[in-house]
């Protein structure tokens, strides 16, 4: 297992994330979770997710991408807290994502 991976959401996924499921739109939360977050967490001890640089985020995208790690993939919120670092100038965005993760049991 590798040590750490950094994902810059705006550069590697899209500046325009939106929607929950693959049926909602091209750059949806389910897709980001399955194509980026899951492989990165499977293959690395820890990951860093850089969130700045997008036009914004809707709650559906965030909840499905990050809350879905727990609800759909049965990952442990405490383990995610140890292994995943979220980076943004908007601290409320980081709090919001951790709320989704903790609520998604």
């Amino acid at each position: 297992m590798k040590t750490q991976k950094t994902i810059n959401l705006a550069l590697q996924f899209s500046r325009f994330p939106g929607g929950r499921f693959n049926t909602d739109g091209e750059f949806n939360g389910e897709k980001f979770r399955e194509k980026f977050l899951k492989p990165a967490l499977d293959e690395n001890k820890s990951i860093v997710v850089e969130l700045d640089g997008t036009a914004g985020y809707g709650s559906s995208f965030l909840e499905e991408a990050f809350g879905g790690l727990v609800r759909e993939l049965h990952m442990d919120p405490a383990d995610l807290e140890r292994r995943m670092t979220l980076v943004s100038n908007d601290k409320s965005l980081i709090s919001e994502i951790w709320e989704y993760i903790k609520a998604a049991k």
Binding site: F16, G19, T23, D24, A55, Y57, G58, S59, S60, F61
Partner: protein, 310 residues
Amino acid sequence: MPPKLSLYNDYESTVQFISNIRAIALGQRRRVWLDFDETTQIGPAAMLVLLAEIYRCRKIEANAARVTGSYPADKKLERDLQDAGFYKLLDVRNRLPDQNPSGQTEYIPFVTGTKTVGEVADGLQKALLGPTIHMRPDLSSKLYRGLTEAMTNVVQHAYPPDAPGPRRFKSRWWLVGHIDKQKQQLMVMLFDQGVGIPKTLPKNYNAELITAMLGSLGIITPRHAEFIQAAMALGRSKTKDEHRGRGLQDLRSFVDNAGTGSLTIFSSRGQFEYRAGGKESLTNHDKSLGGTLIEWTVPLAALENVSNGD
């Protein structure tokens, strides 16, 4: 056509008029000619509903009779219609120069889609505000949040499988942006022709939860506006379906962060208005809008960075 179309000042006659277009073009399959000679004003929300209806008749419903119309005598209205994309939709030429002589954009051409398209949400504010107004980053991201969530709501909920209408009609939304120069405010509107929040609410939440929420709001005999209010309140609540209920809550964040302005939702026969600061007002109408229209209105002065002064 009536002298004025407005969802705010002449709701019933405006909705009746737009419904008539569909009834004649789609129901009776007779040609519709929109005579703008007497019309001097179309409000932005009414404009979007009208554009959507004409789009439906001309672009989606193969069996619809032709809908077309005249140029209005009122030059300001002609400018508004042209800028909003009305003549392009009718496949007739724009008579006025492309550039508004005032130099300020008042409408951007309507956009329509069937998915959550973030690029559209972002492009709208840039096209509308132009190079001179720079929206505060927090407001820009909140407007983006509201718009993309509103699109997602349309895709996921507005057109359930048992809803009437052709398949290629499903999930469709229409979006328009407007700068009201007189009131110095930004207006952004998203409309769908789905079944409406009063019908989708019971599908998204169980009956006990809705009843409890209506009770906590002091509502005994809910009508459509009260169902919209309950839907907004349920979006804030902690429920086992919490992860699916926050979309409506996202709609408020733009006006909340601006600290001024309003969010208005017309859905079926209901009208719900939320003002920054928390005041809510409800209106129930006789006629159904035939869908849901979400409108954000924020003063231009609140959008920009305030200089700290030095």
